[in-house]
């Protein structure tokens, strides 16, 4: 109907209002709607920028504090293993040699360092031999002792020995310790720092990559330079293995049963609600459960990866069941009809068709559940995983029952220590934890891509 006829013959029933304007000039409503959309986009952009800035700041602070942990100052000196000191009886029997403590080895190292300094022609001023020993980590003597006891044939020879420098010396090269702070510190002195500079110039001391950070066990409060993540990484790997071996099959079986086989009634509704609730239970509650059940009731050892793994399994189960059920639900019912229609049994329908299609969801859920478990600290504190463990756990399966530490607990533990050297260690450990998490999440993404939905 044209405009003209409208004015000529007005109708009894009102015509619906019509937009009458050029397409080139937006009307008021369109302008308002567009402005609304522009504003919304702007807010979204601001939110993204804030989130990104927070992430950049976080990564920057962690990496700037943590990367130095991967490098360490070492002193390289020839040490003469004097048989008269180390094996007084002269039998070369390790059992007898064990009576020589680290103090004896410490003296040898001090002597060797003094000899090396003299050989390089460095003036040590008023420093005593005891001061010289203080340049080197207290751990060095123990390292040397372990080496000799493991191989008594070394007695009487001169070996090239790479010793960790003392944490304060190391801190000086990393900028943590200054001449002023050293003057107030009774663990080191400006003279030692100046000597360290000279040793570096002479090539006796240098800073390099420290694999020990990843493989050595934890060390005591006075020796941050010797502390490593070895026991914690093994403990965490053991626990993840336990979680994967228990939570994945149990979680998938429970989900498949609930989703495909269980009758839909009040009981299954109740179970469903409870699984959702369990996923929201604070993790420390699982720690209390683990303490009272696995340790006090079942009598499993404290600090053991098996207990940590069981506790984390309980915590991870609902977090695997929920996404798995969602993935099973998302498989179109027509696929089930198709399989049942050609005479497949219920189980064949599930295993041949439904589960493969749900696999990406199952795997992503599992990996994200594992990643959460990997970073979990609170429940492990309650079952004693926070203990100071220097001995490596044995090989599986019996090793699962040996005391061990775990990455997040080790981080927490190190932040509690007095020596500033441990701050750097803790940040370094966070980087290791983040690398593990990134690897797991990447695996989740790759698996999801590979099993991409194909219906």
């Amino acid at each position: 109907m044209t405009d003209g006829s409208m004015t000529l013959a007005p109708m009894a029933t009102p015509e619906p209002a019509r937009l009458r304007h050029s397409l080139f000039a937006p009307d008021k409503r369109t302008a308002a709607r567009n402005a609304q959309e522009a504003r919304f986009r702007f807010y979204g952009l601001v939110a993204i920028v804030i989130a990104l800035l927070a992430l950049v700041w976080l990564l920057f602070s962690i990496f700037s504090a943590g990367l130095p942990a991967f490098r360490q100052t070492f002193v390289e000196i020839p040490v003469t293993l004097d048989a008269a000191v180390l094996d007084k009886a002269g039998h070369g029997d390790p059992a007898e040699m064990a009576s020589v403590t680290t103090i004896g080895y410490g003296k040898l190292i001090g002597k060797a360092l003094a000899a090396e300094i003299e050989a390089k022609g460095i003036d040590i001023g008023a420093m005593t031999p005891k001061d010289l020993v203080g340049m080197i980590s207290e751990n060095a003597a123990a390292d040397l002792r372990d080496r000799v006891l493991a191989d008594p044939k070394l007695l009487g020879t001169t070996v090239q020995f790479t010793a960790l420098a003392n944490g304060r010396i190391d801190g000086y090269f990393k900028g943590r310790v200054t001449m002023e702070s050293a003057a107030r510190d009774n663990n080191t002195s400006p003279e030692k720092l100046m000597l360290a500079d000279k040793l570096v110039a002479a090539g006796v001391m240098d800073m390099r990559f420290n694999p020990g950070f990843l493989v050595m066990p934890d060390a005591s409060d006075k020796r941050p330079e010797a502390a490593g993540l070895g026991v914690a990484i093994i403990g965490s790997l053991y626990m993840m293995a336990v979680v994967l071996c228990l939570a994945l099959p149990i979680g998938v079986a429970a989900s498949v049963y609930l989703e495909e086989f269980a009758p839909k009634n009040r009981w299954t509704d109740l179970i469903e609600v409870n699984i959702a609730n369990l996923a929201a239970v604070p993790s420390i509650v699982y720690g209390i459960l683990g303490l009272s059940f696995f340790i006090n009731f079942a009598g499993l050892p404290q600090s053991a990866p098996i207990v940590g793994g069981l506790v984390l399994t309980l915590m991870t189960l609902p977090r695997i069941i929920i996404p798995t059920r969602a993935a099973l639900k998302a498989v179109p019912p027509s696929i089930r009809d198709a399989a049942l229609g050609v005479g497949a049994s219920k189980l064949q329908t599930v295993t041949h068709h439904v589960l493969p299609l749900a696999m990406p969801g199952v795997l992503t859920g599992t990996i994200i559940g594992l990643a959460q478990a990997l970073g979990e600290t609170a429940p492990l504190l309650l079952i004693g995983m926070v203990a100071f463990v220097r001995d490596f756990p044995g090989a599986p399966l019996s090793g699962l029952f040996d005391p061990a530490s775990a990455l997040p607990v080790q981080i927490y533990n190190w932040t509690q220590r007095g020596d500033p050297g441990f701050v750097e260690r803790a940040s370094g450990a966070i980087i290791v934890l983040l690398v593990f998490l990134i690897i797991m999440n990447t695996a989740a993404i790759i698996l999801r891509r590979r099993y991409e939905r194909r219906w």
């Binding site: 696929i335 009809d337 198709a338 049942l340 050609v342 005479g343 497949a344 064949q348 219906w455």
Partner: protein, 264 residues
């Protein structure tokens, strides 16, 4: 197009399936009321009727696919060769191997074309060797008029085919288990006239071995391929009889107005 009406002769008078007083409820919705039907062996039976009248529902009763719908309740008696299929001793899995089904919406497995067809024979152990299985797959795809289009890409996914090709793939999959009864729910609704003619020819061919039940919205198709026709309306079986009689001389006024296009 071959006019199949010329060859409309019922070869047997034995009943393959007998349904008596079948009621279906979806929750409180009484979807099917008092349906009595005898489906003859080696015969094509067409179900016609307006949308939502219960054709699919009844079809799904015949192979107990309604078991999978939690809200569905089936009453009455349905027998296959005289055996009650709703008897407690019957395993619906075995029943469905005997009564194949092609669904209203094409639903190929998200697997290769080959695996789609081979799946049924594999799980029922119908073939012994790979060569035998290959033969079955080829024969079924040929019967479903799909072979020429897919013979070069048997390993590509069945879901990558067009809608009509998918439906023919589902037909091939259903006949691969050589069922005794084939239930087809609007198998041609997504097909072009040429493929439709091929499927209709297939249906007529299958009639020599199985009985076929076909739901269709096309009167012409029902008239072309079937020997028996059942007309459903609002959950009731209004009229059932020889196809020629239903189309030329309907007894019920509702049937007459439906086939002449006045209700639907």
């Amino acid at each position: 197009m071959k006019d199949l009406r010329l060859e409309r002769d019922v070869q047997t008078e034995t009943n393959k399936i007998e349904a008596r007083k079948v009621q279906v409820y979806y929750g409180t919705n009484h979807a099917l009321k008092d349906v009595d039907v005898d489906i003859l062996d080696k015969t094509v039976t067409a179900f016609i009727g307006p949308s939502g009248c219960g054709k699919s529902t009844f079809l799904r009763c015949l192979n107990r696919m309604n078991d999978t719908v939690a809200s569905a309740k089936v009453q009455g008696a349905i027998t296959l060769d005289g055996e009650d299929i709703y008897d407690a001793r019957v395993d619906p899995v075995q029943l469905r191997a005997k009564i194949g089904m092609v669904f209203q919406k094409p639903n190929p497995f998200p697997k290769s074309i080959y695996d789609n067809v081979a799946y049924g024979p594999k799980i029922h152990g119908l073939t012994r060797t790979k060569a035998e299985l290959d033969e079955v797959v080829e024969a079924c795809l040929r019967k479903a008029a799909l072979w020429n289009e897919v013979k070069d890409r048997l390993q590509s996914p069945g879901t990558g085919l067009s809608g009509g090709q998918q439906q023919r793939l589902c037909i091939a999959r259903a006949i691969a288990t050589s069922p005794e009864v084939l239930l087809m729910d609007e198998p041609c609704s997504a097909l072009d006239p040429i493929a439709t003619a091929q499927v209709e020819e297939l249906i007529d061919e299958l009639r020599s071995q199985f009985s076929v039940v076909i739901v269709t919205h096309s009167m012409q198709q029902a008239a072309r391929v079937s020997q028996r026709t059942a007309f459903f309306h609002l959950g009731n079986l209004v009229e059932y009889g020889e196809t020629g009689a239903i189309f030329t001389n309907p007894k019920d006024p509702r049937t007459e107005s439906y086939i002449t296009g006045r209700i639907g």
